[in-house]
């Protein structure tokens, strides 16, 4: 199936950007796929510009396949420097487009990446007691449900 990956996907897999654990992040988001068991974390540092809060630094960690790593990396690249309002607007298909393409069975990896980003934003806003946009609330609900389903997998390996 390797041939289904675009050049860009393989490039980001080989040299992922912002792929690390962040020390003292302002917020962390996590998403997991009950489809394939992949899990992903996004770390944020938030700054302030005149047009509002923005993503000063962002990184991710991935327990997942090539598509997962590339999607995360692409998301990080796309989100960096954006205001939170802009970052919330990033759709999974934006990631797919940037990647050139993703095999159809791997599209959910791009969803996961965007979800993890939104979760991090959710956690940030919630921690600061700031209002949470509707789309972030919605994805939060879905993500939490999915995470519960993968929870037992995680527990087993973390024990």
């Amino acid at each position: 199936m390797a041939y289904m990956y675009s050049k860009r996907v393989m490039e980001l897999f080989r040299h992922p950007k912002g792929c690390r654990k962040m020390e003292n992040p302002d917020a962390v988001g996590e998403a997991g796929s009950f489809l394939c068991g992949d899990i992903m974390k996004v770390y944020l540092k938030i700054g302030k510009k005149k047009d509002g809060l923005f993503i000063k630094d962002i990184s991710f960690q991935s327990f997942g396949c090539v598509a997962n790593i590339s999607s995360s990396s692409q998301t990080v690249e796309l989100a960096k420097g954006k205001t939170l309002d802009e970052a919330i607007k990033i759709k999974n298909m934006d990631i797919v487009r940037k990647l050139g393409s993703l095999p159809s069975v791997k599209i959910h990896c791009s969803v996961l990446a965007v979800d993890a980003l939104r979760e991090a934003i959710y956690n940030y806003l919630k921690g600061k007691k700031l209002p949470i946009p509707k789309e972030v609330l919605e994805s939060h609900k879905r993500v939490q449900k999915e995470l519960k389903e993968v929870e037992h997998m995680r527990e087993k390996v973390l024990k």
Partner: protein
Amino acid sequence: MKKIYLDNAATTRVAPEVLEAMKPYFTDKYGNASSLHDFGLEAAEALEESRKTLAGVINAKPEEIVFTSGGSESDNQAIKEIAFSKGPNHHIITSSIEHPAVLKTCEFLEKMGFEVTCLPVNKEGSISLDDLEKSIKDKTILVSIMHANNEIGTIQPVREIGRICREKGVLFHTDAVQSFLKIPIDVKEMNIDLLSASSHKLHGPKGVGLLYVRSGVKINPLIHGGGHESGLRSGTENVAGIVGFARACRLCRIPDNKVKELRDRLIEGVLEIKDCWLNGAKGDKRLPNNANFSFKFIEGEALVLRLNDSGVAASTGSACSTKSLKPSHVLMAMGLSHVEAHGSLRLTLSRYTTKEEIDYILKVLPGVVEDLRKISPLGGK
């Protein structure tokens, strides 16, 4: 960069001697084995010679060998055509770690009104003879248990299974695609009624296989037509392929201690990496060329592709490597968690594998694992 091929359970390199043996049958002795003229004669003789070789390998008679297009076709014919010859409302026993060619065929038969029992396996991947014996009932017509597993290399107690089936008057099919010419098989001694094998797993060409059918066992063709293979498999015979299959067999040695020693060296070396273990059985219950590990915290597809970037071809039971997004049914059946199966790595050797290659992978693997653990949110460091 030199490429190191450690995916010999998936398929193997065709041996140069095999290609040499095949060549004349493409451009020179290209006749149809059913033709009356010399071209046909040559082809028919080559077929019969090959049939003898292959029969000899498992102590069968030449007329008990049916050439097919591969292991999947053999499995399908064995199971479906025994089932259909008896009619629905009969019972078939198989195991939960069979190859999809067996499992999907059994699922299909379930839809057609057959009852199927899937025996569980223990954490080494072995079925229990007790389970088997208890599962056999009046309606049981066929037991299909693989000789050795393709993912974890576990060898089933085929001789005992054969004895039980014979005692109970039930037919016994074994998928020997992975074990054929890696460990000894004697269909007579082992009471095997039907056996599948495939050429491309032992340095023969792809697209050729065989089904052994013990004489006296009534089975129908899966492919109808001109009545080739004594009416059991129609279609112009793939003469070059069959010649290649036979030639490949004559090149194999059992046991191949060199392969086993290298494999043991590999296992020992890999197990020095922390948070990793060997999946499947140890010692004689494991195919001599198979190693299968799980690495905590990381995912197999990423692992395989990183290894690929380092020049090593390997395989994984990760969910991400399959179209169904489910991790290896074999590892799951052995009781591994989704995440543990997700981080599995299969390395399978051949007689072409060298000590240098093993040492090379032992050198690169720890770094690759560490790298991936670094980017994993699940821990490790």
